[in-house]
Symmetry: C2
């Protein structure tokens, strides 16, 4: 069990640098968009800023929730773990070299959230109306596209920071490949909604694309920026990928069994939402025929579930040992994450050692 | 006036190479998506193939209309005009080096069409149901995202073909910048729908982003692949950009005044559709107060226009000399296109000379 202060301190290590670089990326694009006779670019970039939690729907600044920045943090930790601080440069400079990539990953993640919210018709995100809910579907599709383009455009600033172009091309290809895999995952996720034959292995394939690919990509990009050693790059990518799976499975567990307000989840919320996540898919594969019949009916009925139905679903999950299964699945991927870290070639560099420690903290947090 | 055979022969010069490379790009991605336990990638990539006109809604091959491939053709012509054939390589090889970029531009263009069709709620494209009309909005947004990611992923194959990474990064940055500008243009276009104060200069700014940016980008990418000479690159980009404006203005003219079946347009179709294109925006700026009032009312009424209203709109366009204005606007941008071509540094290379001739053919076609 990781203490709350430890995980907070890890997640906040680069927060201010990441946020500054993110803001700068959008401001630069907005400034470049202004030319004589042009339409006002404020609403277009304002939508991006709203989504990121920095402004309200009238584009006035607000003190908001900037999110946890998991992916860019992972990228910067991998960058340091791979030996970035060995270059002899001062601290500020070596971070600056990787920030365009960190911003690219965070913007890419947020572009997928904007489109996911439209695709799932989610009216709220982080207790605020979603983009499409305010500006309509056409503009929100388009703003998502813009954020996707801006992600990549920002990435190329690594070359201005002195990175050799051959590595920049590798970064671009790694990010583009992850994006394609992520979109394949989203295709599967949408198609699963209308199917009742989803197996655990199909689900794991879907989340490995939709969630783990971009986490693996973030760690790989950080490693590529920090080292030429292929083993280090491979281990760090494996770490990010295992973390991505663990991250999603933890979310699935909390979605069913979280019981405290503190975690920001409704108890059994994913059952009420009829979300086809790991618990119910495992239960369906292992339940008795009548229990399976009950779950199938409950997850496909038109009307909302009653609390008695939710209780019965939880009882079925008990009988199929689903919670134990999910926890062991989570533990297995956390073990893989620890193993990947343990196999990162050792550097006698205090910055790299601290980054590896922080990555251990992330795993402890996810497995706790 | 360009003869029909001349323009057909120009547009078909690289058709088979472009189509082969496009098909290969999608097939490669589809093959890479298959792994044990995975969901079936056929519907995801099948939607892309359907949009491109190669398969029907059941993913069975059809002999379809592959489109004119203007942008990749422009890219390959610019590549040859910039001196690509001077490298001493055989013909097949020098084209192969540029094809990944040509595919990237064509996929990028098609991704924007998929999203535009959703945003505009267009139920048909090229006489077939649009993607969202068959597979729904969520999957179609996502398939568009996938095509956008695949466009970029394909671009990196230029490095496998031997291009130096520094130029590949420039290609990526040019494409990403064009995508961002294009999306800004689409933002303006959508926002114009609900406004009645759009000026000609705002409209021109919008189409310069939405249409001209990617045409300029295609020509610039071709030039970057073919030469290191910055003047050649600048002239060819200017050519593509002027062609993009001319292309759109020609479309606007045909949308109002085309009268033959041959052109595939309904006479006055853009008036019936109340499209805020160049003709009506010009007329609004130059009409008498009662005529302006008539147009404003007609373009905002709930019910479809009557043919008498369309006749009256055409009469107002006569009184404001709108057709002459649009034709002179078109001529001016064709003149800029010719001028850019005339200023491309001359090469004593028959392939480059033929490419420049073909580009002249394209301008003659657009201005005729």
């Amino acid at each position: 069990m990781t203490s709350k202060p430890a995980i907070q301190s890890t997640l906040r290590r680069y927060q201010s640098e990441i946020l500054t670089a993110l803001r700068r990326s959008i401001e630069r694009a907005k400034d470049a968009a202004i030319h004589p006779g042009a339409g006002d670019p404020t609403p277009f970039y304002g939508q991006m800023q709203y989504h990121l939690g920095w402004v309200d729907a009238s584009f006035s600044p607000v003190a908001g929730n900037a999110g946890k920045l998991w992916r860019p943090t992972l990228l910067l930790l991998a960058y340091e773990a791979a030996g970035a601080a060995n270059t002899g440069s001062d601290n500020a400079h070596y971070l600056r070299c990787a920030l365009p990539a960190a911003v690219a990953v965070e913007l890419t993640h947020n572009f997928t959230l904007i489109h996911d919210d439209i695709e799932d018709r989610d009216a709220e995100r982080r207790h605020r109306p979603t983009l499409w809910n305010i500006w309509g579907i056409p503009q929100s599709i388009n703003t998502g596209d813009g954020m996707f383009a801006l992600a990549r455009l920002t990435l190329w600033e690594v070359v201005e920071e002195g990175l050799e172009p051959a590595i920049a091309v590798r970064l671009g290809a790694v990010l583009d490949r992850a994006c394609l895999v992520l979109v394949e995952g989203q295709h599967l996720d949408i198609s699963f909604e209308t199917r009742d034959d989803i197996s655990v292995s199909m689900y794991v394939d879907m989340i490995s694309r939709k969630t783990a690919a971009l986490m693996g990509c973030a760690a790989e990009m950080g490693a590529l920026l920090g080292t030429r050693d292929q083993e280090t790059i491979d281990r760090l990518r494996s770490f990010g990928y295992a973390m991505g799976i663990a991250f999603q499975v933890r979310d699935d567990i909390l979605g069913v069994w979280a019981s405290t307000e503190e975690l920001g989840k409704t108890p059994a919320g994913d059952i009420y939402r009829r979300k086809k996540s790991l618990p119910v898919l495992h239960a369906l594969e292992h339940a008795s025929a009548p229990d399976r019949q009950f779950l199938r009916q409950a997850y496909s009925q038109e009307v909302p579930l009653t609390s008695a139905q939710v209780e019965e679903a939880l009882a079925i999950f008990e009988r199929t040992h689903t919670k134990a299964y999910c926890r062991s699945y989570l533990a297995e991927h956390c073990r893989l994450a620890h193993e990947s870290l343990a196999n990162v070639p050792h550097l006698s560099n205090p910055v790299a050692a601290r980054a590896l420690d922080d990555m251990e903290t992330l795993v402890h947090f996810v497995e706790s």
